[in-house]
């Protein structure tokens, strides 16, 4: 069976090779200038001898694409049937199965069956079926050969492309020639230990600018944003005057934070840029941290534009780093109470603002009851989950807010329900502690508990019993891991203390997965998780626990 495949393939060699040429082009595009890199190429004399034989490279390529990566559906089937050690027999699952590169033999490494085969037949080389590494029996070790490595990589790349984009391969970083040069010139490496303070830096208050400082602390401790900025991915759009670019300024800020310096940083340039680009925030009076956060994201998003592909045509689908990290989609289902028809709209969001205190429904009920013994069928939210529950509850819009129903063709009473269509990587919650009306401004200081780990599954559109959307079900590994997609972990909390007129902002940020620090302008102190969870909470930042690489 295997033999027929190995030989039978040579008939359509010409089309195969043309195909390979095409793939090479794409492969080179991702491989940059790796090809020109000359490593100490050959692993050993045995590999050299093998490559020099007539069928050497061809055998390697065929075995690699059919058994190591199993490029087609048929290949997968063949592979599943071939996963047998010829010595152990079909009843035993082989551990570290290897294939001889000279003949049709499969043997396990665990019981040294592949070694025995090499010894008796003098077939020197075997390939690890799981990983594609080449083992040389005379050398008693795996060998590295750049040519074989290249063929293997190309086959893997091809297989991943065939698998579709849903699970695009995650590539490990390999330095280009240029980067190698830079690495050589800068031989000093910095390793960050678990108790390092690197990444922590106080920020000088420039006169009521704690609203900015706390947001900067939250942003600089957003894991994916940090990865983006520290890996220098920004391509600036301000060719004439890069000093006007807020993204560039953020890059410099990240450099400052991770420079290892311990003196407080003075963020005047950032403040100036935000003032320039978000005029409504200009001035030295105290501003709302939430407003500043949204304005900053907006300016960053605007300054990223164009650098990330062709999405300028569709303003609702931006792939800039800000949108990649912070944008989620909210589904709104309006149900006509007369015909029960549902109209669904989906809107992007950067954060979720949650109401505190009694709901409108509660206030109406309370007003209606004249006795001192007031009755109400719901209570004020006491936790983040309560808030989210209220946020996603169907709401009766009442007779004064009729909406035109597309089926009935007239205005009808309806209910509206919100739910999460797509969750962002970073979920930011804004607890609406500040109440502004034309008669009064007041702060709600009620304690709202929030968890360290948050599961958003109950608030998903797919779970809410709304109209199921027509999207095909997303590919999933299994039940367990699909649920994991909705799990979040707290990494920053912004707090407001004092009154609405004279208040002060501070932030808690997480470092190294489980250490917490309180950032009070230029003063940074260690804190416990409990300190964080006991705090009042104004803005809560959660990061997805598990990421699928796209």
């Amino acid at each position: 069976m295997i033999k027929s495949y190995l030989t039978g393939n040579s008939d359509n060699k010409s089309t195969d090779e043309r195909q390979d040429d095409l793939e090479d082009k794409g492969f080179k595009a991702i491989c940059d200038d790796r090809e020109d890199l000359k490593y100490g190429s050959a692993g050993c004399s045995h590999v050299e001898a093998f490559k020099a034989t007539k069928h050497g490279l061809k055998n390697f390529t065929l075995i690699f694409s059919n058994f190591v990566v199993a490029i087609s559906v048929e290949a997968k089937k063949r592979k599943s049937q071939a996963m047998i050690c010829f010595n152990c027999g079909p009843q035993k699952y082989p551990t570290r199965l290897h294939a001889c590169l000279e003949c049709i033999y499969f043997g396990c490494y665990q019981h040294k069956h592949i070694h025995e085969h090499a010894k008796t037949t003098k077939h020197n080389l075997a390939i690890d079926i799981t990983w594609g590494y080449v083992y040389c029996y005379p050398c008693r070790d795996y060998v590295y050969d750049s040519e074989l490595e290249r063929i293997g990589k190309r086959k893997k790349w091809k297989a991943n492309k065939l698998m579709g984009t849903a699970f695009a391969q995650y590539y490990t970083w390999e330095p280009t020639l240029h980067e190698l040069e830079i690495l050589k010139q800068n031989s000093q490496r910095r390793r960050i230990s678990d108790n390092s303070y690197i990444g922590l830096r106080g920020l000088i208050n420039l006169g009521n600018t704690c609203f900015m400082n706390c947001i900067v602390q939250a942003l600089t401790h957003t894991p994916l944003l940090r990865d983006y900025f520290l890996s220098d991915k920004h391509i600036c759009q301000f060719r004439d005057d890069p000093s006007m670019c807020l993204v560039c300024e953020m890059s410099r800020l990240f450099q400052e934070f991770y420079s290892g310096k311990s003196t407080p940083h003075i963020p005047f340039k950032l403040l100036h840029l935000v003032w320039t680009h978000a005029r409504h925030l200009a001035g030295y009076e105290q501003q709302d941290a939430h407003e500043f956060f949204i304005a900053t994201l907006d300016v960053l998003h605007r300054h990223c534009k164009g650098s990330n592909g062709p999405s300028n045509s569709n303003p609702h689908h931006c792939t800039c780093i800000i949108d990649q990290i912070f944008t989620g989609n909210l589904q709104s289902d309006v149900v006509c109470q007369y015909c029960k028809g549902v109209s669904t709209t989906i809107d992007p969001f950067w954060d979720i603002s949650l109401d505190l205190g009694p709901s409108l429904h509660m206030r109406q009920q309370l007003a209606a009851s004249s006795t001192t013994q007031t009755y109400c069928d719901e209570s004020e939210p006491k936790s983040l989950l309560d808030c989210l529950e209220r946020f996603t509850r169907p709401e009766h819009l009442g007779s004064s807010a009729k909406i035109k129903c597309s089926t009935c063709q007239i205005n009808q009473e309806s209910t509206k329900q919100l739910s999460m269509k797509k969750l962002p990587i970073v979920a930011s919650f804004h607890l609406k502690r500040f109440e502004h009306s034309n008669r009064f401004h007041k702060k709600i200081s009620t304690f709202i508990s929030f968890p360290q780990y948050l599961d958003m599954s109950p608030f998903m559109a797919s779970r809410r019993g709304c109209k199921p959307t027509i999207d095909p079900p997303s590919p999933s590994y299994a039940n367990g891991s699909q649920l994991n997609e909705n799990k979040y972990c707290l990494f920053a909390v912004v707090n407001h203390s004092g009154t609405i007129e004279t208040g002060h902002y501070t932030a808690y940020v997480r470092q190294h997965k489980d250490q917490w620090f309180k950032c009070d302008d230029h003063i940074i102190t260690r804190a416990s998780v409990q300190d964080v969870l006991d705090s009042e909470g104004y803005l809560l930042f959660y990061h997805k626990e598990f990421l699928e690489y796209e």
């Binding site: 199993a70 559906v73 997968k76 089937k77 592979k79 599943s80 049937q81 996963m83 079909p90 009843q91 035993k92 699952y93 008693r140 070790d141 795996y142 698998m163 699970f167 391969q169 995650y170 490990t172 590919p475 999933s476 590994y477 299994a478 039940n479 367990g480 891991s481 994991n484 598990f546 990421l547 699928e548 690489y549």
Partner: protein, 102 residues
């Protein structure tokens, strides 16, 4: 020890069938990818590389083999796989083998 000898062949048989099934429908690649992502998130690669480097530090590179490194590093490497990752993978495999897609 006796009991283990009796159970092992059976487990092996089940394991073999399960693996074959996962290999055939391509789910094994998905699982591998998921595992890779999870380990990556936990800096598993870097940690294992560190273990290897530590082991190799005072060894003769010319005679050192992958086998030897493997023998010495594997127990510790197994230990540092986070429990949550093991659990998630197990649930995923269970789901795929019993075939209940939701």
């Amino acid at each position: 020890m006796d009991l283990k000898d009796k159970i092992d062949p059976m487990i092996d048989e089940v394991r073999h069938q399960a693996m074959r099934k996962l290999e055939e429908n391509g789910k094994k690649d998905e699982l591998k990818r998921m595992l890779r992502n999870r380990l990556n998130e936990n800096q598993f690669d870097e940690k294992v590389a560190e273990l290897c480097k530590n082991y190799m530090k005072d060894k003769n590179i010319e005679t050192l083999t992958v086998d030897e490194i493997l023998r010495n590093v594997t127990p510790e490497a197994h230990r540092i796989v986070p429990d949550s990752v093991k659990r998630e993978l197990l649930t995923a495999i269970k789901g795929l083998i019993t075939g209940d897609q939701q």
